[in-house]
Symmetry: C2
Subunit: 545 residues, 2 copies
């Protein structure tokens, strides 16, 4: 028996495009004599559809796609994820289901049991869990179908759920398992995924075909990396990251095993590739081609620019350089060197006259109040207006260049440098931004050495440096990591050897700046805990603040 794993890039709500992609993959699989083709979780409508699921019209369109796929299922069985209606009055209105289509008919529907409702996931918001666990028979094989999280409750010390769906199916003695997933990337996730899959194979002694989607949906980046596992728990094949792939496997060969193919893993390379894909899909799926950003000469905008050029092409990216009276000549020089190196279009607009115009009109109100963060913010906001003017006039989406360390402590100006449709490196700590720079420069000096080696500065007042108001990033970032990713409290962090006053100050800064993060762009997620939909904090709370 031949099984095709179709690792595709779906678009939420774009039923026509999703269906067309699946139809093409079916034709390709048929040409390779596949018996079964497998698509991802909620492949008809794309994942995560969020509150679109609350519209009957949206569910009707998902069902219509299933109906179209049924018609394609005469010479090949189709395994595909799609929402389905809960026929009972009680409970949530929907199930998150996997369909088995063959001979023009729906042969079997299995609902998802374990509904992730943590971090970026909200599935219990929409779906009722399964209460029936059956297998489907096909060409003499019994196949267990599971949906994503349903295989994630073994091999954990602190299991989130009290039931294990595959355990429920084992009395039916399945010959193989197909899992349809939509499991988003973080730089540590591929290892966890392989671990869970090995645990499943070891427990159930069956081959597993794990089908992930690929592509970004706003902030969530799906890396693909679909996996075929032999019954002995060896990874028969881990498919490519960050690209579509349609691959046919011979079941007997997978069962026999003796083959092992895992993708190389490299945190910084994977983050780099994820961000490039995240950028591409944000633009593609919104129907835009061109980006703009402000290039300061600092490392954050330099990295963002390189990623944008790699994602969109140099002809689709333009930059503004907007020096003020506080900008150093080396900043402008470094920006120019990079722009020339990349061959991109740029404009230089000094902001002093606009700044002066604001100050003249505000002086009668400010009178002799001393220069403070107000005047710093005005500069950042003038740059925001100029960037957005280019965006509006020429149809370029403005990219936000803020890193995770700054975003965490609120070191940025709302409506100023925090402007932008997408935050590209908002989930990358500053210390990893330097690692990304080293990775980009590994074969050739692309980012100017001076941009990398000079002390970080916002240059919004004379001789300003980040270290005037923040600790060095190699101290700040570990504290932020423990608080944000690991959810450790102040006492736990202090016990690990960090200065008490500093820890309390940093945690307070994180908490009192929630209002800024509430109003910033979606952040491409590359860690296990990004700002945005996966981290939900009260704004008027009074905790550690």
């Amino acid at each position: 028996m031949k099984i095709c794993v179709a690792q595709l890039n779906y678009h939420i709500g774009n039923f026509e495009s999703n269906l067309k992609k699946m139809m093409n993959a079916i034709e390709d699989a048929k040409s390779q004599n596949a018996d079964i083709i497998c698509f991802a979780e909620l492949a008809t409508c794309g994942y995560p559809p969020r509150d679109f699921l609350e519209f009957d019209d949206f569910i009707r369109l998902s069902n219509e796609s299933i109906h179209q796929l049924q018609k394609m299922s005469h010479d090949i069985a189709i395994v595909v994820g799609s929402p389905s209606k809960n026929p009972r009055a009680e409970g949530k209105d929907l199930y998150n289901s996997v369909f088995f289509l063959y001979n023009g008919e729906i042969q079997h529907v299995q609902h998802k049991t374990l509904l992730p409702t943590y971090d970026v996931f909200d599935e219990y918001r929409y779906f009722d869990p399964a209460d029936k666990f059956e297998v489907v028979s096909f060409k003499g094989k019994k196949i267990a179908l599971t949906v994503c999280e349903d295989i994630w409750n073994i091999g954990n010390e602190n299991p989130l759920y009290t039931i294990c769906p595959m355990d429920e199916m084992m009395p039916h003695k399945p010959d193989l398992m197909i899992n349809v997933s939509a499991s988003p990337f973080s730089y540590s996730h591929a290892e966890e995924r392989l671990h869970i899959l090995r645990c499943n194979a070891n427990r159930y002694k069956v081959p597993i075909f794990y089908v992930n989607q690929v592509g970004a949906q706003t902030e969530l980046i799906f890396d693909g990396g679909s996996v075929v596992v032999s019954p002995d728990g060896v990874i028969y094949e881990e498919m490519s990251y960050f690209v579509e792939e349609n691959k046919v496997f011979d079941l007997e060969s997978v069962i026999r095993g003796g083959v092992k193919k895992e993708q190389p893993k490299d945190k910084i390379k994977d983050i780099h590739d994820a961000l490039v894909l995240g950028l591409q899909d944000y633009f593609n799926k919104l129907g835009f081609a061109k980006a703009v950003l402000g290039l300061s000469g600092g490392i954050d905008s330099a990295i963002t620019l390189v990623l944008a050029v790699r994602a969109l092409g140099k002809d689709n990216v333009r930059v503004l350089m907007m020096p003020s009276q506080f900008s150093s000549q080396h900043s402008l020089d470094d920006a120019l060197v990079l722009a020339e190196k990349l061959g991109i279009y740029y404009n230089i607009i000094p902001i002093k006259e606009m700044y002066d115009s604001f100050m003249i009109h505000l002086q009668p109100i400010f009178q002799d109040a001393p220069f403070n963060v107000t005047e710093e913010n005005i500069q950042a906001r003038i740059r925001g207006i100029l960037n957005m003017a280019i965006s509006n006039k020429f149809g370029n989406i403005l990219l936000n260049t803020t890193n995770k360390s700054e975003m965490a402590v609120g070191y940025g100006t709302l409506y100023g440098d925090l402007c932008g449709g997408l935050s590209v490196i908002g989930d990358v700590y500053k210390t990893d931004v330097y690692r990304l720079a080293a990775y980009i420069n590994k074969d050739e000096n692309i980012i100017p050495q001076n941009t990398i080696s000079k002390p970080p500065s916002a240059e919004l007042r004379p001789n300003q440096k980040d270290s005037d108001s923040l600790p060095e990033y190699d101290i700040l970032d570990p504290i932020l990591y423990k608080y944000i990713e690991e959810c450790k409290g102040p006492d736990e962090i202090i016990k690990e050897g960090f200065d008490e006053t500093l820890v309390k100050r940093i945690l307070r800064l994180v908490n009192i700046n929630e209002f800024k993060r509430h109003q910033t762009a979606p952040v491409l997620r590359v860690t296990s805990k990004a700002f945005g939909v996966g981290r939900r904090m009260p704004i008027v709370g009074k905790y550690l603040s």
Copy 2:
């Protein structure tokens, strides 16, 4: 037996202040010889604590508050909501619990069963449901304790859950029920609440003490309106809306019944009072006193200003008037009349010179591109900078003045008029904004008649009117309501008699402007479906767009 219902305004994460409030209420209840005092759901830590719940330190502090309350429970029993740890490895780490404290001890803990995970609620993200249902005996009475949603699964045609916790407790023959709640306001919610409480009394034939919290937590406004119900289903007393109240009831008298006291209900008055409370608590709980906003002469900023003055006092609110070359004289005049009427401080800053300064620097890039939305946005963004300059220099929080109709169709400038720390009327449709104006003017002309009667205009180009690009609001608003509040699809709305082209255009506008709403301030929620945390839509989706 005397039972005190303590309707208090908690502050998320402010354990010290919450505990102090509860201790004062306990002293007051004791002085009135109460046998039991009842606080709200998660009263120790405030509701909703969101992801603070993921910090062990936060749970430790909640437990510490329970420990402190135990010490107060020698002469009075205390019923209080607080998170508690799930001792099992499996499942979520926490329960949403109600504690019964007496004689210095925890006499009973009942966990919440029905965990709302829809709209603004995310409880399944944190909590495991109860699997034990017991009553507590106190002074010869058996008391059933339930938490909020646990009483909401009867009297519905489409019940969300498959279990009914009070049904499980009935074999223990409880004499009364105490429900601790944190149930947020919308203008239709009080009626629904009374309906559910009557259904419960009719089904179980016991008196019910329903304790709600009062006060706003960022966007969610809790109206109080705690309820005592006689066993015959008559509302013995519906307590006040929008204020703290500590009230002692005689159980025998409630059981006897024959008393009925419900609060008067008026949609527009209730919205008005809710917004005033929402404003007050946003400022109080963040530790700010002063607001600023841009006063245009239009109705939205006029209403926002009146609400702000009522919430914060006239000495704490200042405005900027920022006419451009496209502003009409009557706009400035109307703004001046209102500012003088309210006796607030104002400054006038014409924006033409700043606008010209931007255009001079952009001209070499724009060349002869025609005037379009770019130039309109620059004006709105200059006003944003000026408002934020006042905010930064003097510590006034900027209030956003956008209404729900504009927010829905994206009729507003990101980083311009969409700036602000809090959206005051972002959940009020334009047609209801007019009703609010009529309510505010009911006794005295506060908002100038001209502000109310003139055609709405953004005045960002010559002779511009809202109706140039949008349908009249009395056509737009019903379409938006059906799509946003009722989740109806295009076909359903068209079938109700609306123009097909118009419906499709409006729904498309709503969906393609998701990116703007993602970056705007939290919106005070007064309807059953507000923009923000309760409505989660993909940004790169392609549905009806």
